[in-house]
Symmetry: C2
Subunit: 370 residues, 2 copies
Amino acid sequence: MSDTHGLKLLSTLDEDGRLVVELAEETLPAPKGGDVLVRLEAAPINPSDLALLFSAADLQNADYGEGRIVARMPEGARRALAGRVGQPMVIGNEGAGTVIAAGEAPEAQALVGKRVAVIGGGMFAQYRLIGADACMALPAGATAEQGASAFVNPLTALGFVETMKRGGHKAMVHTAAASNLGQMLVRIAQEDGIPLVNIVRNEAQAAILRGLGAEHIVDSSKDDFPPQLQSAIAATGATIAFDAIGGGALISQILHAMEQVVSKDEPYSRYGSNRIKQAYIYGGLDMSPTILTRSFGFAWNIGGWLLFPFLQSTDAETLERLRRRVRDNLTTTFASHYKARISLAEALNRDAVLDYNARRTGEKYLIVPH
Amino acid sequence: MSDTHGLKLLSTLDEDGRLVVELAEETLPAPKGGDVLVRLEAAPINPSDLALLFSAADLQNADYGEGRIVARMPEGARRALAGRVGQPMVIGNEGAGTVIAAGEAPEAQALVGKRVAVIGGGMFAQYRLIGADACMALPAGATAEQGASAFVNPLTALGFVETMKRGGHKAMVHTAAASNLGQMLVRIAQEDGIPLVNIVRNEAQAAILRGLGAEHIVDSSKDDFPPQLQSAIAATGATIAFDAIGGGALISQILHAMEQVVSKDEPYSRYGSNRIKQAYIYGGLDMSPTILTRSFGFAWNIGGWLLFPFLQSTDAETLERLRRRVRDNLTTTFASHYKARISLAEALNRDAVLDYNARRTGEKYLIVPH
């Protein structure tokens, strides 16, 4: 097989704070060993992709050229990005496509001609050379669009459930709960009988979850949010939360409500209840600081939660069980919805950029690279 | 043996927000079973005691009577204290004294006539009826003053070291590092060869630690604190911090500096380094909210740390090793220093209250109840 030529999206921050996002041509050699060459057919634009693609760049006032955006990175954001200065970054955590060539290893050969979901970065491209172990063969008849989001959201939602169980918790709280991920979590919780408190930020999001039959929905924009939250936590017994927002006092409100519930029938201790209350931050929809009021005793933990460390901490058998569940329920439990389908070139158009970078819940874009 | 009569300190918050701290007489029966009766001779006023004794009460404008203080609890603090309303709270985590009577159990009888350190609450009193397992016999010749702080600070400092090792960390950061606890930690770290970054808040505190031969001392009041902190973290490899302050952005600064150090030689990842950075909050010298900038990737954890849950999570053999180390080094490694010695009645004097409640580093009071 000869070399393959294709386009890919690159994002480069220079030392003057100039961010260049552009389409670049690349030449991919024939795959060797355990590698396969995937012709990419669909890739979702996830919030985690946007953080790498644009970070906090000023996209309102950027220069939008032919296949090229030049934007200013604000001074405040540049220090945290020092590690990427001068390095063209490939973008796109996951996608789906067809394996058009493979190395000689049997696990690679086994995928030739198959439609696969792929994870591993650089999926905002027409082709991707990657290890066969980064691919999951899709069920017969599945479209690339159906398989494009088969990794990040499904395994994150299933990872929350595994993390909850490992920590000895019986019920959980989820924020930004009307997202694609949140909708999956609602369906998983229903299937597995896990009590779930869904925190949303407006009535439209609450309506989405009501439509799915979610039982506990609390709207943080309402005046009576704190008592409603506490009631839902009392009804479910949730002592662990997964938070996509990060900034502000929401995590404190959640932990405070949990503490109120678990300490209710205990004798007073100035250290609070001994029952551990856990919160994980897995996103940053609000980049402002997290405000911890510490009005929830001393038995609490807050940490970052990421998919890849979770996968690394999970045994092979469990992982295969999770992946099989995703594959078997791709168009039901783990279905994703997209607002728009755009080409790689269209992904650099001003209107599209400003729309998909707003990260509004339920308005995800899909890149169709061919 | 007949009943024993003595005084004890009580703190009661009523539902109108009035805090009454007073001396009360009590009658203690003869000990039974595994219990012993301790004539208390010394008890330190630790920050954790003050939180229960006064919490956030307005002590400047309180009414100081004979053996009785009446103070207002600010509205903002009352909600968190709802669980103690109407209940007279005994005060004093630890102390030392002499066992003057014991129940029939051999472990209780073995302590009769011995001077012991005691833990378990209610030590701001003349007598305490308590289980023999809450006592540790002091070495021959040890004074009550030498044994009064044998539990909380020594086991907390040793607990930090154990917690560090359990988490796979090699070096640690400590804040408010010139405290009695901090000074113990400096000596323990020297004895055990553990690299320790000491964060202090002024030059006088730095001088105390220099006098002990501490190697890494960083003053958070200095303009160059961030780079100095990062240098010290780089020099030690610290990836865990124990924080007595709680409020403000100090924990963010520590985690940020750790992240800068551990990610230095890694390829850029927008999620930050995979190396876990851990912070524990074990005190609240600053009761304002903790501000998490989250400028330290996703591999971090912050939690509360308390002595009792640590002890409960520790096997009996380790516990005995820690207690033996304290007993064998009571006047050296684990020596405490006191600014003043006061009676139970003097502990209710306005001048004394305002002085010891200021919780200034290195100005601890000792109650001498007889």
